[in-house]
Point group: C2
Chain length 693, copies 2
């Protein structure tokens, strides 16, 4: 039965083959004029330089952690596989981001050029680039998992329990890498964006992406290192984390049965196939109408979702038999919950619905009221997703038979997360294409292409905002479910480490659990604060630099001299790398410290608290930021005074506040809550053997 892993392995190879095809397809398009190539080259150089330095900083962290893990392995607190799996996870997570960034920086000028010929052509280039990223993530993720399984099973002849126990710790490398990439890239992109906007748009009054703005290249680099490389590493982590935690819980529920362990992996492989089929249905006409464009992408993602919903049923039947068909219900509830959270996100952040339109109206009484309104909107928008996730948890748990056997219920929750992420290949493709279109717009502006081209890239970009909202829904929803699954895996791990644990030990009536809960609930707040402050400080330094260049470079404003773009890129790189260390290290150290003081009960409290507020904060920040962004665009489209009005200024303030909300702190919290769990699992042996209370 364990040979079924080859099916998963085949799925991974299929995804990677598809990546190669898509990559070639993107590369077959022309890069456009020499000027466009030059701009694209500057962006590529900046992004490469950033990633290189990011990886070297992260390398130091990985080296330190490797030593810690080797020492722990020496003391028997983790298996000897953990340090190496930690490295492979980090490597593939980083590689996902790197590949995504490479294709995005190659596709930006090609998309701009293709848009000269037509909208559909532009969409094809951008979406193909997005597909490269999407399928790289799922391909490498499943590759890493299935190869490790083969090593452990066919190389070391471990049984299912031992494999599950080892593999559940393997996503720590990916999670750490993802956190660095998200936080570092997030700080970079928003520091550059805020800095460029504040001086360029507000003070100097020049349009967005104007080549006279010294921060304009940094801004475009930021889109690539934050929204592409950061997101790639992030979703790699989500994907791998959800699959691995459900493998572990499957073994806990079914004992030494390889079928339960392999179900999530094979489900992922089938999801890849469905996603590939879906991509063939994405095409559009020449109409820039948003609804039609959205329908073009929707056809692909919806088809993939329907396919997996159909195929998962016989898959579960075949692997685990009719008596476990409830698990199919769990998978389905995860899939549906992901779609619903995406819809809720869209409702709260798209300017085709009332909340964002009304938010735009609040600019009438100035920036204070639009800020209050956006914060309120973000907070209110947490209600529906929390009910959806709550219902999903209950459905997944009870449909899987949790009422009779708690382990089955927890396995069901984990499978719901896998279900939600099963079509990640295509949903990520629709998501990752956004920054490519955004960059293409920047290049079109800087290269002075026909306004019609800019109009087309803008249409693609605006669509990207909507798909990004949907993508965030999946990312947040799956993060919550995966975090809960990892929490359950933690309890299994604690048992395995020799502690005598009953389910009832984690009662809210226990002060250790309760204190852990309070501290855990606080972590997303602190983490969001640290990352937001980092963006604020980095942005201030960009503002100073841009002001300096405007002042000191003679002829810059008249277009006679060129700005020193590289300096802004370098500034963003240095400050974001410096500032990403504290939040990331905090996330790794906190659960260990709390565990050493409060013991494993406190850790479970911490994980529950962090998951609850992390989920809320992630939605609050993502939706408030998205709504401000679109409210500004709504004003720019001519409502409430339009561009240049005082209402528009208020809208810009809202958008600027929203930038770190939606692109730095919010998404990083998703990773945080899983990293906390994974770190707890890896250090479970230490905590069980040594704690204060």
């Amino acid at each position: 039965m364990e040979h079924l892993v080859f099916a998963a392995f085949a799925g991974a190879l299929m995804a990677l083959a598809f990546v190669v095809i898509m990559y070639r397809r993107v590369m077959s398009f022309s890069e456009g004029s020499e000027q466009m190539q030059k701009i694209s080259q500057s962006i590529r150089t900046g992004a490469n330089a950033y990633l290189r330095r990011q990886y070297s900083v992260v390398g130091v962290f990985f080296a330190c952690m490797l030593v810690v893990l080797l020492v722990m392995a020496g003391f028997g607190l983790v298996t000897w596989f953990v340090p190496f799996a930690f490295l492979s996870g980090g490597f593939f997570s980083g590689l996902s981001g790197f590949v995504g960034m490479r294709i995005a920086t190659a596709a930006n000028c090609r998309t701009a050029n293709a848009c000269q010929e037509g909208l559909n052509r532009g969409l094809r280039v951008a979406f193909s680039a997005g597909s490269v990223m999407g399928f790289t993530v799922v391909g490498l993720g499943l590759f890493d998992i299935s190869v490790w399984f083969m090593i452990l099973r066919f190389g070391f002849r471990l049984d299912a329990e031992a494999i599950a126990s080892a593999m559940v710790t393997f996503s720590m490398g990916a999670s750490s890498m993802a956190l660095f990439a998200r936080v570092g890239g997030g700080i970079f992109t928003k520091a550059a964006d805020v800095g460029a906007d504040l001086v360029g748009k507000v003070e100097a009054g020049i349009p967005e992406d104007d080549p006279r703005n010294p921060a304009v290249i940094a801004d475009n680099v930021g889109d690539n290192v934050g929204d592409v490389a950061g997101m790639g590493a992030d979703l790699y982590e989500s994907y791998v984390g959800s699959v691995l935690s459900s493998c572990a819980l499957g073994v806990a529920a079914f004992g030494g049965n390889f079928r339960a362990l392999l179900l999530p992996m094979i489900l992922a492989a089938v999801g890849i196939l469905c996603s590939i089929v879906g991509t063939f249905f994405v095409r559009t006409g020449e109409d820039t109408d948003q609804r039609k464009l959205l329908a073009a992408l929707g056809r692909g993602t919806n088809l993939a979702a329907v396919l997996i919903a159909v195929v998962a049923c016989p898959l579960v039947l075949w692997l685990l038999g009719r008596e476990n068909l409830g698990l199919y219900g769990a998978i389905l509830s995860g899939l549906v919950a992901g779609v619903l959270i995406g819809k809720a996100t869209e409702y709260y952040t798209s300017d085709t619905y009332k909340p964002t339109q009304e938010l735009a109206g609040k600019s009438e009484t100035g920036s204070a009221t639009i800020i209050i309104g956006g914060l309120g909107l973000g907070m209110l928008s947490t209600a529906v997703p929390i009910v959806i996730v709550g219902a999903c948890i209950l459905l997944a748990y009870f449909l899987s038979g949790g009422a009779v056997n708690a382990s089955m219920g927890l396995y069901g929750i984990a499978l719901a997360a896998v279900g939600m992420l099963s079509t990640l290949g295509i949903t990520l493709a629709t998501d990752a294409y956004g920054p490519v279109a955004d960059n293409a717009g920047g290049i079109a502006e800087m290269a002075g292409l026909d306004p019609e081209v800019r109009r087309r890239t803008d249409a693609l970009d605006a669509l990207g905002n909507t798909t990004a909202a949907t993508g965030k829904g999946f990312a947040i929803g799956s993060a919550a479910l995966t975090a809960l699954a990892l929490m359950a895996s933690y309890v299994e791990k604690v048992k395995e480490m020799g502690a005598e644990v009953a389910i009832g030990d984690f009662s809210l009536m226990d002060p250790l659990v309760l204190t852990g809960l309070l501290v855990g609930a606080c972590l997303p707040f602190v983490f969001a604060a640290l990352t937001m402050n980092s963006v604020g400080r980095a942005a201030q330094s960009v503002v100073m630099e841009v002001r300096r260049q405007f002042r000191e470079i003679v002829g810059l404003m008249d277009g006679k001299a060129e700005a020193d773009y590289a300096r802004c890129v370098d500034l963003c790189t240095r400050s974001s790398l410096r500032k990403m260390v504290l939040p990331a290290v905090t996330a790794v150290i906190c659960p260990v410290v709390v565990g050493l003081i409060l013991g494993y009960k406190g850790v479970v409290g911490l994980l529950a608290g962090a998951t609850a507020t992390g989920f809320l904060m992630a939605i609050y920040m993502a939706n408030a930021g998205g709504a401000w962004d679109n409210a500004k665009k709504y004003i720019e489209a001519g409502h409430y005074g339009g561009k240049g009005s005082s209402n528009h200024k208020a809208g810009v303030v809202g958008d600027t506040v929203g930038d770190p909300f939606k692109d730095t702190s919010g998404p990083a919290i998703n990773i945080l809550i899983k990293l906390l769990s994974i770190v707890s699992i890896v250090f479970a042996g230490l905590v069980v053997n040594c704690h204060l209370l």
Copy 2:
């Protein structure tokens, strides 16, 4: 032993007698010139009109709830005492707010007038008025509790268990009243404040409290109905809630022993005595230096705290013997935690420390960066208080012997809350005096008194901001501890209602608990959003009205015609009353609905989740708001460009966003988390007998 209740009763009477003395003292001061009397009269009339209408709206709610409770009593789901205790709690809570408002509106012109003669004289009037409020709250609170005890014990001859079980539900009336008062008053005060500022200061460029501003009286009325009447009802509820929950847990820990039931009541009575002693040590010289003024108030509050810390030890020894001396440790840890949270709040919000000074510096790059900075500051400032509360919980629990007997530990946590609030009489006096000084400043401005007078009232007012921060620390800290105590009481209640409950039933591994936790964690977000949106909408209507008056009333800007103040007051009244219903009703209905679906396990999850995020949100919002307020004042004091600079404008935006944060949503969340618990307790019988899952 139960006759010791007379000691508590005597404490209540002592407080009320002190109130009468202080009231007379305030009234003995002159009201000042005719113009000052006239202004004060307008404020009083507006505040009275608001309260009258508020009580009539609340009356409808109370009538509905009374019917519900009577029906439930008919079905045996609650005792027959509950409906009547519900009324008495609501009545006294409302009365506390009413008395506070009466004295504040009488003291405002007297303080302004006294400030003409000297700073110390002004402080004496304002502080005496604050004392009336502080001791009314504790006096009426303890009166209500001790009279009910006497009725139940000496009238109905109930035993300790029955009394505790009945009395723990009694704070529902107070909590409901408090929520309405806080939300309604909070919306009123901030709608008027934001509206007055946005049009007056920003658009028309006239100073604060300028009589030409049509919203100026509404603004001053708001200080009274929100910061005074709302706060009075709020702290009445905290006080009563903490005492009653610890009475109930005392009986759970000690069985039918009246000593454990009476300890919190007698501790409260002793606290009143210590607080009265403290008030005699509050006096100052003629120096407006903030540190000296703060020291003047600090002498009183610190003395009271030291006294109760000393006296509580023999009290515990005498009532419960040497073997339970650990409970004294719990009381002490609560007292110390309250002081420390206050200090942390002060550090993050006072402009004598770095965080607020740096925040002011963020105005250099505009309103967006000061908003980002303030939000980050608020989120970051949650870390220290959460660690303090966490440590307090653990200390209180383990010192009280929770490791051996969980009930003892929970009783300890409840006593920590009582310890924290034991000196409420004087801490509330230092807190409530702030709005009086604020009003006095407004009157001084409107009546055109000597600038020196305004300088003195400003000094008193600025001090009020610091004491308000400290007061908030106590309010939030005690709310968290009380909410946890009430959660424990809820579990007792569920057992009493016939459910077979073990501590382990509330495990985080149970999906019902977990789902409840998620929903509960979401409630403070939703509640904050509802109240913030209400402020935003109400403020917008005030803005429209003020703009209309400026446009339509000829000669208003030249000071030749008088503004229609009453219309703004009426507008604020109507919109705040309309908008307070939804948040308040949500708070009452949610725990019942969740209980009916998820059962009592879900309710415990809900309470824990709401307490955790409620605590965080309350601190986040209070501190962000306080820091913005003081950053603006710091700029006004001449830093970063001073008044009128573009930095100042950015500071005003921050302050405006902070207004609903710190004075509407933040404080109301404190009440929310306790109201959720109390409602759950009252409806426990229903939920135990009837739930879906």
